[in-house]
């Protein structure tokens, strides 16, 4: 072990004296520190802003005047997706999906006003955040400083001396691995700091620790790849060329090809497309605004029987409100079927993309990182489901008021008789039925369970590369 440490210490001393290494490491460190500070600041501000907006939307809803309850159904409400604490490290899909949804009766709206829609378009990867830097740039740094760890000794002839002194190839490889691990460990400090910051702002320690562990694993995979190439290739320029090529493939090409493949393999209709198909079906359900719609005949018979009334006018409840509640429930079932189908297909696409992680640890660490941070597609889907539940609750609460607090006679006349119209207004105190909504991602254990597949993929890479290194080190010759 002391041999390994001595070899590693020698390597560190050498790097510390190399201007290329120092400049590259310094630039990256500054970049990482700056982006971390900026992203953390932006996300914290954004979280506070959205939480405040959520509270103000609730206050506005409560402050509405006396109204017909159906007006409140259309007045609607907003749900905001506040970014979780770890979004300070990996904002994930936040920029792409839009952060708020308008909730109203009879409709499931989409999350609107994504940042990307108003962003300055400078092409491919013009958004920098700490997660991106870890995923794309740190491997390059490891390549630049590490491709010569063994080759350097070979080229200068010291490898022969070391082997002749009786050092085993394994001990040499171990020392070099330790040297690279030291650099990787140093560069884990920013993510560890951000993880600590997130725990301070309420994140579960498990998620934060696992996030740091994912990136430790990711950097270990790259360090192993660099070491393996340096061990097996005999020319420095070939080694560097190969490693840059591997980076190009793993970090830039395979993830995007995975997206192409996912999009080509599973056809996930957009919302407007599936809404159109749904609307045709919906028309068969009847129009909830029109209590005379023949689609409600069966319901009418059933309700009349239950209250032993001969006509809707004799009912103790407002038939129009009953129809509104009934059709909202039916419609919501239908909308949820379509929404679930859409989300399922999107999840299928993303699963295909995740399997490309077998060929690209960058893709795997990205999936693990977003999942652990609570900024992945599945968390967005969770937001959509929760905001839908919120929507359904308050709409049905209002429909309930519509059925029980208004008389049918007044309700039917309200379009032509101003006095009847005045009597159909419900006291504003009733608007308190709206639930408060604060979005939080899944519990840390569930997020971790979802991240296990990509983490296992990276472990597989590491194991395979460790095998290659062991074999290569055993056969190490000058």
């Amino acid at each position: 072990m002391t041999t390994a440490l001595r070899i590693a210490r020698e390597e560190w001393r050498l790097w510390a004296r190399s201007r290329v290494v120092l400049v590259a490491a310094l630039i990256l460190a500054v970049l990482l520190a700056a982006t971390s500070a900026i992203t953390a600041g932006r996300v914290t501000e954004e979280a506070a802003k959205r939480t405040a907006r959520q509270a103000s939307a609730e206050a506005t809803f409560f402050a509405q005047p006396d109204r017909h309850p159906h007006r409140m159904v259309h007045y609607g409400h907003y749900a905001f997706r506040a970014p979780p604490p770890l979004a300070a490290f990996d904002p994930g899909v936040d920029a792409v999906t839009g952060q708020s949804i308008f909730l109203e009766g009879h409709r499931q709206n989409t999350a609107m006003f994504a940042d990307t829609r108003s962003g300055a378009d400078l092409g491919g990867f013009a958004a920098l955040n700490p997660a991106n830097i870890y995923q794309l740039l740190l491997p390059l740094l490891l390549i630049i400083i590490g491709h010569g760890v063994v080759l350097r000794e070979r080229e200068s002839g010291t490898l022969a001396v070391m082997l002749a002194q009786g050092q085993s190839g394994l001990a040499i490889a171990g020392g070099k691995a330790l040297a690279l691990a030291g650099v990787a460990g140093l560069f884990l400090l920013p993510v560890a700091a951000l993880a600590g910051f997130s725990v301070a702002s309420g994140e579960a320690p498990l998620a934060a620790i696992m996030l740091v562990a994912s990136y430790a694993l990711y950097l270990a995979v790259w360090a192993a790849l660099v070491l393996a190439v340096s061990l097996l290739v005999r020319q420095r320029s070939v080694a560097l060329g190969l490693l840059v090529f591997a980076w190009l493939l793993i970090a830039l090409i395979v993830p995007r090809l995975g997206i192409n493949a996912g999009s080509a393999a599973v056809d996930a209709p957009g919302k407007i497309e599936s809404d159109l198909v749904m609307l045709a079906e919906q028309r068969k359900l009847g129009d909830g605004h029109n209590a005379a719609d023949p689609a409600f005949d069966a319901l009418q018979k059933q309700v009349l029987e239950r209250y032993e009334a001969a006509s809707v006018e004799e009912l103790p409840i407002n038939w129009r409100g009953v129809v509104a509640g009934y059709s909202e429930a039916k419609l919501t079932d239908l909308m949820n079927d379509y929404a679930e189908n859409r989300m399922r297909r999107e999840a299928e696409q993303s699963r295909i993309v995740t399997w490309f992680g077998l060929a690209s640890p960058t893709l795997a660490v990205g999936a693990a990182s977003r999942t652990l941070a609570g900024t992945d597609l599945a968390t967005h889907h969770r937001f959509l489901r929760e905001s839908e539940a919120l929507r359904f609750d308050f709409v049905q609460g209002l429909n309930d008021l519509h059925a029980t607090k208004l008389t049918y006679a007044d309700d039917a006349k309200r379009s032509s008789d101003p006095e009847a119209e005045a009597r159909t207004r419900v006291n504003a105190a009733a608007w308190r039925l709206l639930d408060t909504f604060r979005f939080t991602p899944d519990p840390a254990a569930e997020r971790l369970a979802r991240a296990l597949l990509p983490l296992a993929m990276m472990l597989g890479w590491l194991a395979a590369l460790a095998g290659v290194i062991t074999v290569g080190a055993r056969r190490l010759k000058p």
Partner: protein, 415 residues
């Protein structure tokens, strides 16, 4: 000629170089193929939806017997079809909506509906030809050209070669030119085949090819300048990758952050809040409060603008319009902010060959911000036509006759 033949023989024996060029070819085939598959799917979606849309509208109108009801239930499909060049650069089509179904209600509550696809797509991005040409191809060129001189230097032949060649350019130029041409052809051939399959306009294909060649030429100059430094191939390669990072990744990212900080756009959610407050308050306000601003914008309906009953359709659609009117200043600021940001991005792109090539492709493909805004403008224009069509029926209230709806305006996509 014999010089080129000799260099071609060298190139054929250089396994590394052949590998990079073959890889470029395969990637170009993949990017073009996936691009064509995607735009064809989008076109098929639009064609299918156009049929469904007409059917649904006829069905919806058929179930009602009042002008106001029919206008309420009739949706109209609007869309921006992918251009003949869109296969090469999907651009904003992955994040901005290109399909809507609008009706007579307040447009601001409909036009911001985001029909985005899988969020992961927008996040990671597609591998389209524009990305290949703008970001990946320069790296391949770096791998191909960085060690031309340095490799000979390492092999100890450099000075001898230069001395026998007479002029150094006679030695290096054909060697580099051949590799450059090989890479360019590997990229462009699949692209040309794809363009022929898609029937893309020749001028666009020529402009796209020029962009690829121009972008690569800039990188060639950069590599050439760096290659004169007396350094070993690994150091050169590391330096060139650093330059690539700065120009392709860091520069655009910093420019983007700076532009967005300097040119703020209003929070889009504000548009929706304003519109919604205006529309919902209208129910409780005196009818004149709605009709006055509406009639000021539509003086032709002045004589028929009295609302006497608690509910009349003309008043209902008037406050939908007034809701849009209230939000108009923020909408204008949002639109203006996006255009200003795009213009600033266009200027900043001059600093980065990667951004320049990618933006150039998006412009040719009509998948840039300007094209997306043009689509939104087309939807706005169509909504105005729709209102102009319905207002006479709502205000004059002639006997209901569904045959009138045969004259509904047709949507024409932007060109």
């Amino acid at each position: 000629m014999s010089v080129l033949l000799r260099e071609a023989r060298f190139l054929a024996r250089d396994r590394g170089a052949v590998l990079w060029i073959a890889l470029a070819f395969l990637l170009s085939v993949a990017a073009t193929g996936f691009g064509i598959a995607e735009v064809r799917e989008q076109r098929a979606t639009i064609a299918e939806l156009l049929i469904e849309d007409a059917k649904d509208r006829a069905n919806a109108i058929g179930q009602h017997e009042a002008w106001g009801d029919a206008a309420y239930v009739a949706f109209h499909l609007t869309y921006a079809p992918p251009s003949d060049f869109a296969f090469a650069a999907l651009g904003q089509r992955d994040t901005a909506p290109w399909l809507h179904r609008v009706r007579m209600l307040s447009l601001e509550s409909q036009i911001h509906e985001a029909d985005t696809k899988n969020a992961d797509f927008g996040l990671i991005g597609r591998f389209d030809f524009a990305f290949l040409a703008a970001a990946i191809a320069p790296l391949l060129l770096i791998l191909l050209l960085h060690d031309l001189r340095a490799a000979e230097r390492v092999a100890g032949r450099h000075d001898l070669l230069v001395a026998t060649a007479g002029k150094p350019s006679r030695l290096w130029l054909p060697r580099a030119a051949l590799r450059f041409a090989g890479l360019a052809m590997a990229l462009l051939l699949p692209f040309w085949v794809g363009a022929a399959l898609e029937g893309a306009a020749l001028t666009k294909v020529a402009a796209g090819s020029a962009l690829v060649l121009g972008g690569l030429a800039i990188w060639w100059l950069i590599i050439e300048a760096a290659g004169r430094i007396q350094a070993t191939p690994p150091v050169l390669l590391a330096a060139l990758v650093g330059i690539w990072l700065a120009l392709a990744l860091l520069g655009p990212a910093i420019a983007r952050a700076a532009i967005e900080a300097q040119t703020p756009v209003p929070d889009g959610a504000e548009i929706l809040m304003l519109q919604r407050e205006a529309v919902n308050d209208a129910w409780d306000l005196p009818k004149e409060a709605t009709m006055r601003p509406f009639l000021a914008a539509h003086p032709e309906w002045q004589s028929l603008g009295q609302v006497t009953k608690p509910f009349e359709w003309k008043w209902y659609y008037a406050f939908q319009f007034v809701g849009d009117q209230k939000a108009a200043p923020v909408v204008q600021a949002y639109r203006g902010g996006r255009i200003a940001r795009d213009r600033a991005a266009g200027m900043a792109a001059v600093l980065s060959p990667t951004s320049l090539v990618e933006r150039g492709f998006e412009r040719l493909a009509q998948t840039d911000t300007a094209a997306m805004i043009a689509y939104e403008d087309a939807v706005r224009a169509y909504h105005a036509e729709l209102r102009a069509f319905h207002y006479p029926m709502l205000f004059r209230d002639p006997p209901y006759d569904p045959a009138v709806f045969a004259g509904l305006p047709d949507y024409t996509p932007p060109q």
